[in-house]
């Protein structure tokens, strides 16, 4: 069949983005109102019934900071490690491909909670054993830092999923783009950096945004490994006051504010990168 495309077949995404009126801004505005509504509800509760609602907010506010810090720093590492994993999964080198595939398959088969517990309780012991075996004093006395171990655990787990997103995104870019870059004398790394990845980024932004929001919610699991995040602070508050309805409703609302805000940010970035010229 003689295929005779008029234009290059690659960039439907960008083409769509430049059609006036195709931008989804009207819808976006509606979603902003949901965020405003939830924030208004939190403020209203705190104003009308400062005891217990304002007390809860004041009590858990450092937990909110920990949740944001854990999520954002994990995510930065996930973006890097995920790219390494994704490129590994595309490698022609059987060793690199095998190792990255093993990593992805192993990690995706183990529950995140179990992984977090392993990194916090088992991993420091592993380091200590190694320290004892090789007479390395700095390892022998290793004490687990809860937040560091939590960030490590979240990163290792989510980067495995992120690898697959990167892989799919890179594979969605027509092979001719890489060939054209290589035919001009660019190395594989240069072609990836200047030609393939900038296009893949636009493809993977929506799933990456979803991962960020999922990570934000899953970060509540770090409360089981001694990180005083929003969830753990909520539990601490409840254990002194015994008012579960108010406490957990407020914690849920606070998470909702965070996730809705994150979703708006993701949508905004998506729109920006589509129009960026």
């Amino acid at each position: 069949m003689p295929a005779k495309p008029k234009a290059a077949p690659s960039p439907p995404l960008d083409a769509l983005a430049r059609i006036p009126g195709a931008e989804p801004s009207a819808k976006l505005d509606a979603w902003w109102w949901l965020l405003v509504g939830v924030i208004a509800l939190v403020v209203l509760l705190a104003a009308v019934r400062p005891d217990p609602f304002l007390r809860i907010i004041v009590f858990v506010r450092d937990g909110i900071a920990v949740t944001i810090f854990t999520t954002v720093s994990s995510f930065a590492l996930i973006l890097i490690l995920g790219m390494v994993g994704g490129l590994g999964r595309l490698s022609k080198n059987p060793l690199i491909f095998g190792l990255s595939s093993l990593y992805v398959e192993l990690i995706r088969g183990i529950p995140l909670m179990v992984q977090l517990i392993w990194w916090y309780f088992a991993f420091p012991s592993v380091l200590q054993q190694i320290g004892i075996a090789f007479k390395l004093p700095f390892l022998m006395q290793y004490r687990a830092n809860p937040i560091a171990m939590a960030i490590l655990g979240l990163t290792i787990c989510y980067a495995a999923y992120m690898s697959e997103i990167y892989r799919a995104g890179i594979q969605s870019i027509p092979k001719g783009q890489l060939e054209a870059a290589r035919s001009l004398g660019m190395t594989y790394a240069q072609a990836m950096r200047h030609v393939v990845l900038p296009q893949a980024v636009r493809v993977i932004l929506p799933p990456v945004g979803n991962e960020f929001i999922a990570l934000l919610k899953d970060s509540s699991l770090v409360s089981v490994v001694a990180v005083t995040d929003l969830t753990r602070r909520g539990r601490e508050f409840m254990s002194t006051t015994f008012i579960p309805i108010e406490t957990w409703s407020m914690v849920a609302l606070l998470y909702l504010v965070l996730t809705l805000f994150a979703a708006r940010m993701v949508a905004w970035i998506e729109r920006r990168t589509k129009f960026e010229r």
Partner: protein, 244 residues
């Protein structure tokens, strides 16, 4: 004089079933324009893609401008000197025409942005679309895209240009504008290897025409002779189907 491209007994398989190149040998002189024709699956595009090692081959040697295609460094060195134009244009979809022309100049040739821009504008004028410098590939017609692709390859100041069916994806009314650019290039003395069935171009510009079938070179001659009085039966059969 030493041929600028020396292909010696090159074999290439796709998987176990397809023997795409069966011991092809070919010398191309500096300044020569060679057109390769042949039926679909004859290995003509594969051979072309072997010259800058976009396609790997299992056996045989290719030496381009004195550099053997063996190590990664040599392959990149050859690619820097050999421009390639593809059937599907393959312009970088996320970059403007200007950036398409400047990227490899900056990254590979390490030219500063002023010089890269100057070279790019010069070449856009040469291919006849200086007004499209800030356009994006999707905004161009197929013929314009292909001319930009030619300019992008020329921006690297290649010694050799490879054309892989450059007009096959174009609407009929756009073929001429691309062939005109190629014709001008041939007249300037560029070494060109062209996989194409554009007989008009071959007659006007090519020094040599090669007919390939089933992974082998069957016959080679001047375009005039090959098209009008082919000596081999398979060439005759093929031409009788192509020429109306």
């Amino acid at each position: 004089m030493e041929p600028i491209i020396q292909i010696r007994d090159v074999h290439k398989h796709f998987g176990r079933a397809v023997h795409a190149l069966r011991g092809v040998s070919l010398d191309i002189q500096k300044g020569e324009v060679v057109v390769i024709i042949g039926p679909s699956g004859s290995g003509k595009s594969t051979l072309l893609r072997c010259i800058n090692r976009l396609e790997e081959y299992e056996q045989g040697t290719i030496v381009v401008d004195g550099i053997p295609l063996d190590t990664a460094a040599n392959i990149n060195a050859v690619r820097t000197e050999v421009g390639m134009v593809f059937q599907q244009f393959n312009l970088f979809a996320h970059l403007s025409v200007m950036d398409n022309l400047m990227l490899a100049q900056r990254v590979v040739r390490h030219r500063d942005s002023g010089e890269a821009r100057r070279v790019a504008l010069e070449l856009l004028a040469k291919v006849g679309i200086p007004e499209k410098a800030e356009a994006f590939p999707v905004q161009l017609s197929g013929g314009q895209q292909q001319r930009v692709a030619i300019a992008r390859a020329l921006a690297m100041n290649p010694k050799i240009m490879l054309f892989d069916e450059p007009t096959s994806a174009l609407d009929p009314e756009m073929i001429k504008e691309v062939l005109d650019v190629m014709l001008a290039l041939a007249q300037e003395g560029m070494t060109m290897v062209v996989v194409s069935h554009e007989m008009g171009f071959a007659r006007a510009a090519a020094h040599r025409a090669i007919f390939m079938d089933e992974g082998s070179i069957i016959e080679e001659s001047t375009p005039e002779k090959l098209f009008s009085t082919p000596s081999h039966e398979r060439t005759q059969l093929f031409l009788s189907k192509v020429l109306l």
